[in-house]
Symmetry: none
Subunit: 320 residues, 2 copies
Amino acid sequence: MPEIVQCVPNISEGKDLQKINRIVEPLRHHSGFKVISVEPDKDYHRTVITLIGDPNQMIMPLINFYALAAKEIDMNLHHGEHPRMGAVDVCPFIPISGITMEGCVNYAKMLADHIAYMYQIPVYLYAEAASNDLRKDLPTIRKGEFEGFKDKIKDPLWKPDYGQSEIHKTFGVTAIGARMPLIAYNIDLNTADEKPAKQIAKYIRQSSGGFKYIQAGPAYLEDRGHVQVTMNILDYKKNPIYRIFETVQMELKAYQLEITSSEVIGLIPKDTLYESMLYYAKVHQFEIKKDISLEELTNLSIRYLKIRDFTKEKIIEAHL
Amino acid sequence: MPEIVQCVPNISEGKDLQKINRIVEPLRHHSGFKVISVEPDKDYHRTVITLIGDPNQMIMPLINFYALAAKEIDMNLHHGEHPRMGAVDVCPFIPISGITMEGCVNYAKMLADHIAYMYQIPVYLYAEAASNDLRKDLPTIRKGEFEGFKDKIKDPLWKPDYGQSEIHKTFGVTAIGARMPLIAYNIDLNTADEKPAKQIAKYIRQSSGGFKYIQAGPAYLEDRGHVQVTMNILDYKKNPIYRIFETVQMELKAYQLEITSSEVIGLIPKDTLYESMLYYAKVHQFEIKKDISLEELTNLSIRYLKIRDFTKEKIIEAHL
């Protein structure tokens, strides 16, 4: 079984499409992995790039990608809505098939070692690759951001895992790590009032007593004229989508509101949709096969979770 | 304002009512506090005793109570559904009025000091009285149970807070502490199969991804011929009963099962029932007043949460 990972580097450039293209384009000309998506965001001034394939084939092109980002991006000139500390702000490896988390940690370290040595970019290993508990959480590492790291990096507590205790003057620093697939999932409500979404986000998120692997908040979509509960599901095996969907629906009853639709941002693993559809199959007593096609799974997910703008291309396995 | 606490010792005897009576009866003949309830459970082989009143007046009678439990109960002969490590398994002090948590911690230490010194019973301080983070959580302390403690107590990590590093040969060890009011709440299922209860307990408890302040497990009630999801709600303000009840109900649908009834062990604060009834009032659009009587609140709770064997005397405020 070949090793397949998802790799999602985030770069601190979301406006200049030509610049983004100069950094990303070389990634497209390799065998063994594919560039699945390139998603620039102007407000965040950040671009999320998604690769899928053989991690062994990714390492050399990723080293080159870091070099190009270092050449194109000067963090001293960067300002955006999203917190950031480096030109390539973060680069996680995510196990998809034929590889363990430990395997991904090893690839993260291999990449970290090279870019620290070759380009003097300090690296923090994060999430499952973290060298201590304080470094598991990316927002904790990133605190102070690019500007603050000039001092933060001198603190013995924040000595980089690779490279010297001094930032790269234009690149800053970077976080490389390994983690489980994270699902960005949003639930749309039939109201423009932000209060119920805010309240329900509080009920379901870990930080205020909710489910352990849920981060959640309210968001008003000006374009669409309604609010949503916007979420990260950090461990979809422990907190399956159906449980979140049904709990939000239950809480909404007190507001006489309903879920009109939901959406998945980025990609989603097949087995999390399968697990959720298994719940509905048991409730409504229909059969669902372990080897269900991606088309059927897509249709069931649209039906029971009301996912909008959803096609089978949103499922990771469609790209393997 | 007089100091009022709730004190809820649990003893490892739930079958022999005469024996239970011999241990508990002397507590009834003191001024300054009342025995509110004595709840033996045959399947758990455990009795929960609830006292309310002046903690200062409770200490001497509680020392005597520990002596009687030591005399009557031999843990070598004890087997029940509920995990346990001592004849008096646990004894928490809970602030109700006119006293801080710190005040309760002091009473816990006073009791602990006496029973370790007088009866050679090793004591672990737990919850808010814990001497380190590992001891905050009662299930973590209790792991290994009575049988395992013969070895566990020799581990320097598990040196008792009071008393020698050797169990009392028939009593075992005990946990004494101070904590916020905790709700012991169980949900009855219409099945004798333990699997669904085990699965759902896993879904809702913090340790495996569920709600932050929920501890849960399955239990088979031989007496009644069905299983239940047995829970502690550690912070009822963050994890209200209705949310747990409705989430369990949602999960049960996948098993074609239902909640037949639920039960509250010990006492429950008025405001948690009020908060939960507020949810149902909003869902079913009836009015509920902040100064609702305890009788009305009891009736609504029986109706919407299906609480069995429930009277207003189960509400703390009925005894103040």
